[in-house]
Amino acid sequence: MRVCVISMSGLRLNDADHYSSDLTDILKSSGAELAVLPAHSALMLGLAGGALEPASDFNSSFQQYIQSHRDWNNRFIDIHSRLACSNNIYLAAGTLVEKDAGAHYHSAYCFNPKGEICGSQRQTHLTWAEREIGLSRGEELNIFDVDGFQAGLVVGNDARHPEVGRIFALRGAGLLLCSGALEAGLNCWPQAAGMWSQVQQNQFWALEAQLSGTISGRTFGASSAVIGPCEITPGQSGYLNRGYPHTSMVTADLDEEARQKIKEDYPLLKLLNTEAYSDLKML
């Protein structure tokens, strides 16, 4: 399966039509059957297009978005539903903030080629700053079908918590779609400690889309990448393909047979010793 991850760099965000047109061009040129957008896509697009009111800094803009998200979220979902449908593609649309029973969640949505929501995920582990803003933790990890793959969505900071990848893997997920947004800087090591590490200890694929751009004075920039088990990637690096922080799109072809073979040859998950994990079971 051909896949692509998109950083949002180079897209015209000031207008929904321009955005849809540019994204369509990218999706068509990629030849991908599945694409992933980064975290904060709804916030970035909403601010740039005037649907959301900007504030003096990122946290304030985020707070304002939390208070007035409903209309924009519906519009955001509609835009990406149409994009998935018109491009006949699975599209993980990045993230938005939603409210449910009085709590706010940082969530990701995936659309199938019919434009239907086929998967959604609330972020389960929050940063200190996200807790301060008032977000709540999701308490489920959902697995859904993406063209025959058992897939899951990884939202932001969940990439740094190995429990997430392990739960997905042991429940059968073979493909994780990760929407991230790291503040620009030296991010190669935090990224290696995130999805790259989760892939290596679980032997699934991960499509890591990292946001490139500035939201209310905060600049985001990290490398979007398609990650697989080291043994089946060039130079045994674990990266099928990787961009620079400003690369707009990264594509790769997933060789599922190769992944299944490495799982047979080096059956990491079968070598787990659950008898020794009583401390975790008692959490």
Binding site: T124, H125, L126, T127, W128, A129, R131, R137, G138, E139, E140, L141, N157, R160, H161, P162, E163, R166, I167, L170, R171, L186, W189, P190, A192, A193, W196, S197, Q200, Q201, C230, G235, Q236, S237, G238, Y266, P267, L268, L271, L272, N273, T274, E275, A276, Y277, S278, D279, L280, K281, L283
Partner: protein, 355 residues
Amino acid sequence: MALTGWKEKLYQRYLVWTCRPARIEKHLRSVLPGPGKHSPQASRRQIRAAALQLELKLFDSPIAFADEMHRRTREAVNEGAELIAFPEYNNLPLLGLLPGFDKMEEAYRNKGKDAEADQQEKGEEDISLNDLFRYMSPAVQPLINTIFSRLAAAYGVYIMAGSYTLADNGSVINRSFLFGSAGLLLGSQDKVHLLPVEEEWNLKRGGAFQVYETPLGKLALPVCMDATYYETFRILELRGADIVLLPIANLEEYNYWLALRGIWPRVQESQLYGIKSALVGSIAGMNFTGRAGIFASLEITPQRDGVLAEVESPAHEGMAVADIDLEALHDLRRNHPWRDSNPALYRRYFPEIYS
């Protein structure tokens, strides 16, 4: 198993005799400084650690092996180390105590290369490495106990003596040992996650993780493959460990990314210091590579890369030395920017996935 004849039993008695504690102690007394000559004071702000990388060579005498362990310990002590780590499978050099092991090793090395030769060497092949580990165990266990106890006491340092494949109630386990600065054996840890090849050898896996409280912080000593699994370090973190000493002997051609998959990400996931000691070199058709090193959370390493010190070569002897700051570690744990826990999520899934 072909090690039960009278000649083999007789030789085993000889091995035990030649490795006897009194003999080794007498030798070490003649070469070691007296107690108290080196007595470093532990400070939680600055604990100097040394991760040793040992190059495999066979020893035909336990005294020579003891001298080598002493040489490497002294080297670390001369760098100011208070906490010293030796590698996994540190008993492999002692296979040289067996007469004719060179022939046996050749047979292991050529195994599968030539069917006719395999047939001719069948006698040697019938003896598995597991058999050898079990056979040598009565000699190896007291030998390492004596050597590392004496070295720790003489230099007033904490030594993670590496791991050893030893007989244990009818099975063979891969067990690491920790000696305190007074020379006492503080504890041990059986390898919990085995490599596929170790499962083929019928090694028995450990069933629990241990943490040992010392003046240098709470120490844990899981073994090699244990660092492939986040669960190991998370459990040790939950049990209060500050420093994880990880002896390794990586059975693969060195590749930066492959080698990155072990202790480095585990230290990032769970806030701990990690000390990796490595065995490198070839024996019995197996080629071990690695780079010993000392690792910490990105946030408390100078280059923000998670590495405090690392041996340059993946194939030759070396030593990585760095200072560990437990106060900085505990400050980071208290004020971590991205760490979180979601007990509701874990309660929902862990009973199912870890059943």
